[in-house]
């Protein structure tokens, strides 16, 4: 369901946002709010923090539509990236507010940020992988079919089912390898263009 929007949609959306068309922001929200909110929630594990992050992310996009470069990838990836940066920033902020920082505390925070970001990236990868791969994973993992049953249910050969499962997991495994985009600014809102759209799910 939640695959990338076509490139011309992305470009047009960017232009409309840049022109200050409020209706475009509504469309953007409807398209991506659940992505933004669920990624934020995955990192922050808190409903109201995820709400705030959602506000920040859309606020940032609305104020900086030109920060998106259509050449570097789909808008969906960019938004996921902005979300992750924003959510990670908020998580760090929360930890800072908890009090004085020991080096160990800092370590633990960064570890948590990393784990949460990996998890969020994995969610993102799953939602943006081709539906055929996702369906195969869902059947075998969540519905506990074996791959032959999955193949029958999907109407494909056993070979193809095996291929999809392997490929799906390969995509997913990239979540834990990719480096976390650097986050030089401490605030909850990403305010620079660096590291944008580095993470494209093929």
């Amino acid at each position: 369901m939640a695959n990338d929007t076509p490139p011309h949609w992305d470009r047009k959306m960017q232009q409309r946002l840049a022109r200050g068309e409020a209706a475009a922001l509504g469309e953007l929200y409807d398209r991506f709010a659940s992505l933004v909110h669920s990624l934020s929630h995955r990192v922050l594990d808190d409903e109201s923090a995820a709400d705030r992050t959602t506000r920040d992310v859309f606020g940032y996009i609305w104020e900086n539509p030109q920060a998106y470069d259509p050449k570097s990838g789909p808008m969906r990836s960019w938004i996921a990236e902005v979300t992750q940066r924003t959510a990670a920033g908020r998580l760090r902020e929360q930890h800072r507010e908890e009090g004085p920082q020991s080096p160990g505390h800092h370590e633990r925070t960064e570890e948590k940020v990393r784990a949460a970001s990996t998890a969020a990236r994995a969610d993102y990868i799953v939602t943006s992988m081709p539906a055929s791969l996702r369906a195969a994973l869902e059947l075998t993992y969540f519905q506990r079919r074996d791959y032959r049953q999955a193949a029958r249910q999907l109407g494909v050969t056993d070979d193809e089912a095996r291929r999809r499962l392997r490929l799906g997991l390969q995509l997913l495994s990239s979540a834990s390898i990719r480096p976390l985009p650097s986050q030089p600014h401490g605030g909850g809102v990403p305010c620079e263009r660096a590291g944008r759209a580095r993470r494209r799910s093929r």
Partner: protein, 510 residues
């Protein structure tokens, strides 16, 4: 499969984590993600030297053939073929040397099984063969480990419904941060919000849910009886699309009925499609307007029910598939966009509904109301909760109905459906009124002129008083409750009360 302890390799010790964490709890997945990362790194180093310790997959899926049965993990499955100690673990070397192996278990096949293995979705022999292979083949072991870690990242999708209030908060916040050059006009905001809410309800619906029967209900005030029409979820969306198309046409956008007729003709080639109608995309820019569809010159029927039936006939697919959703949504987006750029004059263009017309700005509000009501129909059909619109929007909807009442009463009177005016009054002079008090956040007080739509009314002219809840009033206006059933308090002139209640119910349509 987990029962018999005969899986080779590390099955014994790893079994607990393989079985316990999978699929059960989201949180497990996330913590595992972190440690998995470490494991993967550690594994990479050690791998060249010694055969990696591969954590076994989660307890595998049932192997029973009852494909569609929901799978618990309870049954200790009697594997059809006992996982006989694997045919001697394939000494994985070059595939060419596998002459003696059962053909299906060469390196290439085993590699292709790694994904299924990591998900415990292989047969027992395959599982055993893969595991045997892993202790021999570094490359496969490497990948197996990576894929196993990836499984730990799988996570049931949070299907948290976003609070619709968040949308307006977010959008409002954005407008403060940067003032829009092209705002969504206030009169279009209820449509924007309601269409977005319905779209969110539809978004996660499974294909088969689109076939769920939905009963459309309205009140036939002429015959004083309730009416029903059965359709599907998909049919409801097609209905919304067809009737929203009235506003679209008035704004110079393509009429979805033209599009349906054109595509129906393409498909069936029965020659019944309308010749000469524009058959552009349903979501074409407003500038490529269907010519002549302005100010009441419509090539297609304007009566909402007729439009719907025609649309359903022209494109039978829309009753069975989610196909209408995209068209409905795209038309809705285009409507909002056109409305945003529209001048005041355009906002006042009359949209014909058959018996009456409404200016575009009210028509879009009427469409917001219908969108809400039909979203409720759908939500009821699929047993999903749905809430009322935000109170400012609800208030606008009630206000529109109240404003439509005087004309409606007059029309009913002309049709002989209600008694003659008691007091003939010249336009602008006072006449009798009914005090309509709608309670709740979306409510307010309205004084409905009873004798002539043009009459000026003052609170002192009220000869009757009706009080009801905002939601109940909307249910009445939607024809979901009959006037006699409406939970309303009243006093005063009984005939006036009945006129107003029936006029309200007669606002309803299919």
């Amino acid at each position: 499969m987990r029962g018999p302890d005969e899986q080779g390799g590390g099955a014994g010790d790893g079994g607990a984590d393989g079985g316990a964490d999978c699929g059960s709890s989201p949180r497990d997945g996330s913590t595992d993600g972190g440690s998995g990362e470490g494991a993967a790194e550690g594994g990479t180093e050690g791998r060249a030297a010694q055969p990696p310790r591969i954590p076994p997959p989660r307890s595998p899926a049932d192997d029973s053939e009852g494909a569609a049965a929901p799978h618990g993990r309870s049954a200790a499955p009697e594997d059809r073929q006992p996982p006989a100690r694997p045919e001697p673990a394939p000494p994985a070397r070059e595939p060419v040397q596998l002459a003696g192996q059962p053909e299906q278990f060469d390196h290439r096949v085993l590699k292709s099984l790694l994904g299924a293995w990591a998900l415990s979705a292989c047969s027992p022999e395959e599982t055993a063969a893969v595991e045997g292979h892993l202790s021999e083949c570094g490359a496969c072991a490497d990948e197996a480990l990576r894929l196993r870690d990836a499984v730990a990242l799988l996570h049931p999708e949070d299907s948290l419904d976003l609070d619709p209030a968040l949308r307006s908060q977010v959008l409002r916040g954005c407008m403060v941060r940067r003032a829009p050059r092209v705002p969504v006009p206030e009169w279009a905001a209820p449509y924007d919000a309601e269409a977005s809410r319905l779209d969110a309800l539809l978004r996660d619906m499974a294909d088969e849910e689109w076939l769920t029967p939905v009963r459309l209900r309205w009140f036939d005030a002429r015959h004083r009886e309730k009416r029903e029409r059965d359709t599907t979820v998909a049919g409801v969306i097609a209905h919304l699309l067809a009737v929203d198309g009235l506003v679209a046409s008035a704004l110079g956008m393509p009429d979805p009925l033209d599009v349906a007729a054109a595509s129906g003709k393409d498909r069936t080639d029965d020659g019944s499609g309308r010749a000469g109608t524009p058959h552009g995309q349903p979501h074409g820019a407003a500038e490529t307007a269907a010519a002549g569809a302005r100010d009441g010159v419509f090539p297609q029927p304007v009566d909402p029910a007729e439009r719907t039936e025609q649309f359903w006939r022209a494109d039978c697919d829309v009753l069975r598939t989610p196909a209408a959703r995209r068209h409905w949504r795209e038309q809705g987006h285009a409507l909002l966009r056109t409305a945003s750029f529209a001048s005041d004059r355009t906002a006042g263009v009359r949209v014909p509904y058959g018996e009456f017309t409404l200016p575009v700005r009210d028509a879009l509000l009427e469409r917001a109301f219908e969108c809400w009501m039909h979203a409720e129909d759908i939500a009821t059909a699929i047993h999903y909760p749905y809430t009322a619109p935000q109170s400012t929007h609800l208030h606008h909807m009630v206000d529109l109905a109240a404003r439509m009442l005087p004309e409606t009463i007059a029309r009913r009177r002309r049709a002989g459906l209600s008694g003659p005016p008691r007091r003939l009054s010249a336009a602008g002079t006072p006449g009798r009124a009914l005090h309509l008090e709608v309670e709740g956040d979306g409510g307010g007080d309205w004084y409905i002129p009873l004798d002539s739509p043009a009459a000026a009314v003052r609170p002192g002219d009220a000869v009757a008083h009706v009080a009801l809840d905002d939601y109940e009033f909307c249910q009445l206006a939607a024809g979901h409750v009959a006037p006699a059933e409406a939970m309303a308090g009243w006093d005063g002139d009984r005939e006036a009360i009945e006129d107003v209640l029936f006029a309200t119910a007669s606002l309803s349509r299919m």
